[in-house]
Symmetry: C2
Subunit: 347 residues, 2 copies
DNA sequence: GGTTAGCACTCAACCGGGTAGAGTGCTAAC
DNA sequence: GTTAGCACTCTACCCGGTTGAGTGCTAACC
């Protein structure tokens, strides 16, 4: 089952070639390479073995071979070596971050643009997740006699808002007092600490306005966490540059899968527990991404993992290059975020 | 130059047919229609005239004719009659709005989804513009020793935020006092009234903290208005269902033009002075939309025009249907918004 | 036993000719 | 002014032949 040295080298050569050209690789083109002096017939035998082992596939009898997903998996796990980014590429990446950003949102968007521009794949960024973040300010703003807006500001500079119905007879003054109370109680609390027992505990002190208080806390729980299911996307059409998506229907399927950002959100969310992740072809659950590979990385603020970002492309992907880019991007983004937030995040 | 009755009817028949089938229309297929009893030869003569006048084009000598942009323009201006929506269609549209929405953002998104689902074209919605809207609340929230977040809430329930640098030595208490002051001064003011002279006038009372005040007002002016250049897009891939975009490169061009939402924002912004607008082919400035038509409508809150929405599709578009849908949508959206904001908008 | 040259075979892609069919333009008759 | 008839044009499609890349197998070689 283990592949010997030579099979490994041949497989690598095939994968490298295929990643570059998208065309099935024949035995002769391998044997002609300077660093191989084996005849094409021998390569053919080896390739036949590799096919039997499930690493290669043949589109049809008289075509060359293409790597299987299993081959990519092996390649990623064992064969591939991290590519070095050229100084030029590093500079290109840094250039995206040097425009002074004064909002996290802009930074996130910039990251997505940079990623898709540089990799030429489709890029996605999950903005900093709020769970481990602290509340800086809570405010109830009266909009009309029946409606108020609950605004919440976190220490990372994110704001969220929820529209609420206010009970009959509640005045702007009441709401203001209420805001003060909420503010005093919740300030510097973490969003994921704001659990139900707290609600009950705090609710008891509220007396007559308890029902309203309850609805405020529910709104906080429901909306603020769920509502954040946004991701930043860039370069969705990059996929159209790759011949595997020259078929209209495939392209349509891919773009449709991406447009509803839900699936991507799920993937990024899941991936944000891992430093890096690579999922190849069938390993992706969404039906329409089963011919793609997804590579993601996680970024941090201080030590806290805050979100993740990644790219989607054909399984025939330049994995090593992408990984290097993600790695450098991870660094750049974490730095930029830290700079933006002036590092007042204490563990 | 004026077209006689018969030419008009023939042109309409050709356009109707072409909109439906996307295939060049021949003389025989027109003469066979029940409501025409003219021979194909006569139709041919008429078609030849129409071509000379610039209303028809021939892809090649032995093909039928297709309508020119000039023909669509004539069609839209004079021939077309407003289609009636079936009760079923109305119900379908209303269904999108019946899920109770408690945020404008959700409503905007829902509108875009509904539009693209029902028309099967690409839909875009410009969210309510803030210019004529009133400020309900302003708050400065300290994030770190050097940074604060300026949060602004409008009476339509929109929030905007800007990150600011705070001068050395300013305390949370100072910021709070500052917020109170801003709040008292700006509450119920309209965003577009908040002009420079006000800034100067108010700034004079500020004494030592005048510089900071200036930066706050500048931030308000710059960011809050410019930053809102977001539009909601839906059904971007719908265009791929139309044969005129079966060519990959065209499709790519279209999708790329749409991805950078700037152009669309400009178009919608411009269109939001008109109740309805239809631009056909070359009439669109963006190079890559010169083979498309764009139809937009404006929606209101109370009497105030607040934004616009529309669809993009091939020039061969079902104009009458689209217009009817937009019209009904305009009503539904304006109603939904009014309901959401409880009509406390006073002229 | 692994390696290699040689050869027959396979299959997609391309090319050219031939045909069908839709549609036109023109002319002559009504 | 309208129409029938006819020659003409042009695309789309099918078909058969050819090319070329690549394989699998076999027999010989080291």
């Amino acid at each position: 089952m283990e592949l010997d040295q030579r099979k490994m080298r041949i497989l690598q050569a095939i994968i490298d070639d295929y990643i570059l050209t998208a065309a099935p690789v024949g035995s002769r083109s391998i044997s002609k390479r300077a660093d191989f002096n084996i005849s094409s017939a021998t390569i053919r035998n080896e390739m036949s073995d590799l096919e039997e082992l499930g690493y290669l596939e043949q589109p049809h009898t008289s075509a060359g071979r293409i790597p299987s997903n299993k081959a990519y998996r092996l390649y990623v796990n064992q064969i591939m070596q991290r590519a070095q980014l050229s100084e030029q590429e590093r500079r290109a990446i840094r250039a995206y971050f040097c425009a002074r950003m004064d909002q996290v949102e802009g930074l996130v968007r910039q990251t997505a643009t940079a990623l898709s521009d540089i990799t030429r794949y489709t890029a996605m960024v999950l903005p900093p997740q709020l769970n481990t973040v602290r509340i800086k300010h809570v405010q109830l703003v009266q909009l009309s006699s029946e409606r108020a807006l609950l605004v919440l500001v976190t220490d990372t500079g994110f704001i969220r808002d929820v529209m609420l119905r206010v009970p009959e007879g509640m005045t702007a003054y009441d709401l203001d007092r209420f805001s003060k109370y909420l503010n005093d109680s919740l300030r510097d609390m973490r969003l994921n600490q704001m659990a139900v027992d707290e609600v009950v505990h705090m609710g008891e002190e509220m007396g007559s306005q308890r029902a309203f208080f309850q609805s405020v806390m529910e709104a906080l729980e429901h909306h603020i966490q769920a509502n954040a299911q946004k991701i930043e996307l860039s370069g969705a059409t990059n996929i159209l540059n790759y011949p595997e998506y020259s078929d209209m229907n495939k392209a349509k399927g891919f773009l449709a899968a991406i447009e509803g950002k839900d699936t991507l959100y799920q993937m990024l969310k899941k991936a944000s527990t891992l430093e890096f992740s690579i999922t190849i072809g069938e390993e992706n659950e969404p039906e329409q991404l089963k011919e793609c590979s997804v590579v993601t990385a996680t970024y941090r603020i201080g030590n806290e993992p805050m979100g993740s970002f990644g790219i989607i492309g054909p399984t025939r992907m330049h994995y090593s290059r992408v990984l290097s880019i993600l790695e450098y991007m991870q660094l750049s983004l974490s730095e930029a975020l830290a700079g933006l937030l002036e590092q007042d995040q204490h563990e």
